[in-house]
């Protein structure tokens, strides 16, 4: 976006975003060692309790503590989204670099057409296909979101790398006798890294939304693995008399995604020297 608020204002957004994301990550990590209550422990006597001093976010229809479930659910959401971004980068970036180093070659043309082809399948449709074949699981959700991420990173890398290949310092490296492969990794990659990091945070937030959506319709994480999307799906029939079941997991998703987006926007501005200069 071309809005350029003052430096303090912009960093405030980035810091707010960073803190929100950090909270989710800390909750996920801490949940491996400690949660206020055991999420596998059923306590029917205390079912559907409203938020209280004992159960901060209330309890669900099995008497499980919602706050603890959200902490454990953070693990699923974050790990699915991170691995999916990893898959997208691990395949997309080398493909994009290779395509750019051989511009307009058969390789470039083929890679870009395959990219277009993957774009024709919305992520959810890929997930449906994978589920139809292999069944629903968190792993298949990761693969579905990951496949969708590949063309995103391939396109971005190719686009940025193409303009770099025209630059003098690349010409110098070529004159020095470096191969296209070495130039791609030693000179092009470090120069597109900023872009990749920013896109990575965007895809990370989209991954959290996608994982929640897949789990919501039963195509993602399966019981007993808690996930924010499935908590929402479970709460659907009880929203009229126990709205807290739907409100807290939903807020967890919104705040984490919002945090990632704010952080990503801030990072993009930070990496963009033009904007940094303007705000001085």
């Amino acid at each position: 976006m071309s809005a350029r608020p003052s430096g303090v204002m912009r960093y405030r957004h980035m810091i707010t975003g960073g803190l929100l994301v950090l909270t989710a990550i800390v909750a996920a990590v801490v949940s491996f060692y400690w949660t206020p209550f055991d999420v596998t422990q059923l306590d029917i006597a205390n079912k559907l309790k409203k938020p209280s001093a004992e159960h901060w976010f209330g309890t669900d229809h099995f008497g499980r503590d919602i706050f603890s479930m959200i902490m454990v659910g953070a693990r699923t959401s974050i790990s699915v989204a991170i691995v999916a971004v990893g898959i997208g980068m691990a395949f997309g970036v080398p493909l994009g670099l290779a395509a750019a180093s051989r511009r307009d070659s058969l390789l470039d043309e083929t890679l870009m057409r395959i990219n277009d082809l993957i774009f024709a399948f919305p992520a959810l449709v890929i997930a449906i296909l994978i589920t139809a074949v292999y069944g629903a699981s968190a792993i298949n959700a990761i693969i579905a979101i990951g496949i969708f991420n590949i063309p995103v990173f391939a396109r971005l890398t190719r686009g940025a790398a193409l303009s770099l290949w025209e630059r003098d310092f690349i010409l110098a490296a070529r004159v020095a006798g470096k191969s296209k492969f070495r130039i791609s990794f030693e000179h092009i990659l470090p120069n597109v890294l900023n872009l990749l990091i920013v896109q990575g945070t965007i895809q990370f937030s989209l991954g959290i939304l996608a994982e929640a959506a897949l789990s919501f319709v039963g195509l993602g994480a399966q019981p007993p693995l808690p996930s924010w999307g499935r908590m929402l799906s479970d709460s659907q029939t009880m929203i009229s008399f126990a709205p807290h079941l739907a409100i807290f997991p939903g807020l967890a998703i919104v705040l984490t995604v919002l945090g990632l987006n704010l952080f990503g926007d801030g990072l993009r501005d930070y990496f963009d020297p033009r904007i940094r200069r303007d705000s001085r």
């Binding site: 976006m1 071309s2 809005a3 057409r113 277009d116 082809l117 774009f119 024709a120 399948f121 919305p122 992520a123 959810l124 449709v125 449906i128 296909l129 994978i130 589920t131 139809a132 074949v133 937030s205 939304l209 929640a212 959506a213 919501f216 319709v217 999307g229 929402l232 709460s235 659907q236 929203i239 009229s240 709205p243 739907a246 939903g250 998703i253 919104v254 705040l255 995604v257 919002l258 987006n261 704010l262």
Partner: protein, 314 residues
Amino acid sequence: MLRFALRRLLSLALTLVAASLIIFVAIEIVPGDPASYMLGLNAQPETVAALREELGLNVSKPQRYFNWVGGMLRGDFGTSYTYRTEVTPMIADRLLISLPLALYALLLSTLIAFPAGVIAATRRGSGADLAVMGSTQIGIALPNFWFAMLLVSLFAIKLRWFASGGFPGWDTGLFAGLKALTLPAIALALPQASILARVMRSSLLDTLGEDFIRTARAKGLTARQALWRHALRNALIPVLTIIGLQFSFLLAGAVIIENIFYLPGLGRLIFQSLTQRDLIVVESVVMLLVFAVVLVTFLVDVAYAIVDPRLRRK
């Protein structure tokens, strides 16, 4: 222009062929025989063989692929394994809900995003701009299915303005049909409107900074005239792309929203078919969704080339 359109059409056809191959191969590797699945454990081998014959499962795989694609080209999607009826009328019935829903959502999204984007861009830095940017930031982070649940709990359960789900059918009247689609359309539209408003704002800001706008102002046009006569038209190009992309997102996103509102559209059909292992239906609906995405991309590309002749060359 014709050459450009033909070249894009060829690329569209190739993408569809490749997509159909992927979908066919993916579904073909699913273990199990549909005929045995339909008839249950105690079926006689002769009955299974007869059903396999009836479903066209006895021919070789390449032959089955060509039968499937040939059938689709004639508008025949085959026979559902579960319901034993033609898939084509099933899909057509469901499209009568999914398509209007996606279009309704697209219309709402555009109606919200345009004024919001224009206000934010023309009053950059003002309170209105901050409000638009803040609310779009939240809108983007909002999962549409959660938003749908909140809408149901407020407007259907508490206020009782709308039904919480279901569809009365178009024969009960246009108003009743649209009313049933209103909450789902809002749920689908709001997150998309947030993205669109931001694109509209940034595209308009870029255009307003261009030399030709300064020239228009220098010639004596007021800011409002320059905006309406010159800036908006030029700012629309990136916005059109996003609208095109959003249509496919809306069709795919409707898959989830339809399940929340119990709307008998393509989304519910695909999930029912998945649980019943009615793979011919899954195959056909997925192909149809891919076709919709590719077709919209093609139309956006052609619309672009009409608006901007420079794009025809590439």
